[in-house]
Amino acid sequence: MELSGGEVLMEALKEEGVEYIFGYPGGAVLHIYDALYQQNSVKHILVRHEQAATHAADGYARSTGKPGVVLVTSGPGATNAVTGIATAFLDSIPMVVISGQVPSRLIGSDAFQEVDCVGITRPCVKHNFLVDSLENFASTIKKAFHVATSGRPGPVLVDIPKDLTTPDIKVPFEYPDHVEMRSYSPPELGHPGQIRKAVDLILSAKRPMIYSGGGVVLGDASEQLCALTRELGFPITQTLMGLGAFPASDKQNIGMLGMHGTYEANMAMHECDVLVAIGARFDDRITGEIEKFCPYAKIVHVDIDPASISKNVVVDVPIVGHVSQVLDAMVALVRESSRRPEQAELDSWWAQIKKWQDEDSLGYDKTADIIKPQAVVESLWRATKGDAYITSDVGQHQMWAAQFYGFDKPRRWINSGGLGTMGFGLPSAIGVQLAHPEATVACITGEASIQMCIQELSTCLQYNTPIKIINLNNRYMGMVRQWQEFGYEKRYSHSYMDALPDFVKLAESYGHVGMRIDKPGDVDDAIKEALSLTDRTVFMDFITDQSENVYPMIEAGKGHHEMRLNPWKEPA
């Protein structure tokens, strides 16, 4: 079979089982778009901005585990995609980005719409390629998918000069069935001796703590994590990226840890004597002041990336390997062993945790006559029976979504944790909805974030993605305002969102349903009504309490045991 470059790409995507490609056309990819037009195995989703293409592909990837695929043109197309590529990179999301490049002979001449795309994206991709000949195109795509999806996943970019996709230049097509890269072999199996050592330590714990992260979601090891945690009866805390891998509704779950984690999770981190870190990377948002981190704990760390280990915190028992394999081995060893941690010790540890839980660190005023943002999230949780896909933007609303929507399943909570990219919520929801057409998909956002990719409302109409947008409208960049309240004596420098659009009319002008809700008593019914419109995108503009802050909070320089708690207390 002789194919042109554009056709090679289409065939390769088909071989990879790609369902959707998110993109935006332009000069350097016109040949590819022409090949796209003449096939029907891959569906193209036309976004309204290339950043959204990457976020939509990202949402697709996070919610399915399959790589998201993006197609953009050279120059501005590629630079617009950079934010979304970096977003995927920091959260280790598998993604393949195809970018057009100016014709080979013009590279380096400051040609029209030329940027050094491989150079610009180098620091924020797992790997990238500039295709140098049509003969290598198919094998390069194969490599791109392999690298993006194996080991610690990440985005991979393939830059393809326009001349290599010329329709009348054809090469014999054969898609490789495996990849040979002598320089790339991600670790798989954890070292048995290390695993044994870890289990020994775990079984000797008096005040144990499991701290799991995004790696468990990425590695599809939720089942194994649950097995280990339940077998041991230990408390578990999850990072923002790990939520749902262990069910929030389970008694052993003591909530998220870190800057806006629960009081009990952070106190337990501080006091524990054995910490089992699983697919988590000791990010500065979770460690607090590093000198004060887990002062009494011996630490086990399971991670597929050796560079994650002892990067921020030196650990005692490192295990490099795939989380599902390592957890399987751990569960087997625990089950084999007759040893168990001293039950009396474990009981008193749980009793201590209960005391911390009594602090009710997520408590808020439920009687206020103004809508509390937390109440909206709780209402959404009830109305969807905790079973929706929730995407989010960045800010206070993101934290409230994480704190108040109890995720019982992995891949349900879709947010930008590492880069913290405002504008992520709506486009990622499009990707999620396309991947799960029958599911309820809600985007919990803020009035500042939503405006960063608001143009995607048009994409929602075109592809009929009935997303429910929950805009927690506090007329502030709330997260910025909160920091200014705490750290800058309430000098609210440029954090006020003035001149907001009428979101109801805006939604309507895009052909959607708009709702404005400003009374606490209307929240439940409004959400039910919106959810009943199963074939419509609904923009729900909730006018919320402007002064609400996210609590509890670890402020800069503080340790886990020095959280700032909500000054509001439930009246006795």
Partner: protein, 163 residues
Amino acid sequence: MRHVISVLLENESGALSRVSGLFSARGYNIESLTVAPTNDPTLSRMTIVTIGSERRIEQIIKQLNKLVDVVRLTDLTEVQFIEREIMMVKVRAVGEGREELKRMTDIFRGRILDVTESSYVIELTGDDHKIAAFLDTLGAENIIEVVRSGATGIARGEKSLKV
């Protein structure tokens, strides 16, 4: 501590910038970096001299290993190894000093590559101590120009870095 790290990487355009980019992006020190093809034309060999705490060096090695273009690497500082660098130095050579310079060059086993009425170009090979000692001996006031290749290194004995 000073570490000498040898890296075999794919001889592909862009591979060098992945390594140098890694160092600048993560704020790692580079004392010197040299790279050239090997007897296997598909591979380049790079020698990186860097300074950092043990933990820092461990991260550097892990991050280098993560680069897809890096095939293999070794921290030579962990084994017995030979380090060599070549330097060419242009010095003022006038009057009586000319003889003295010639003698010093011989003692350091250097070679004079170029002679004019007022200058020599001297070639010297050695590790960084030897090169520093020679530069000291020449004296800053006599040095017109210095060019150094950066360190290269290889393990002693049977040990080798190859694919």
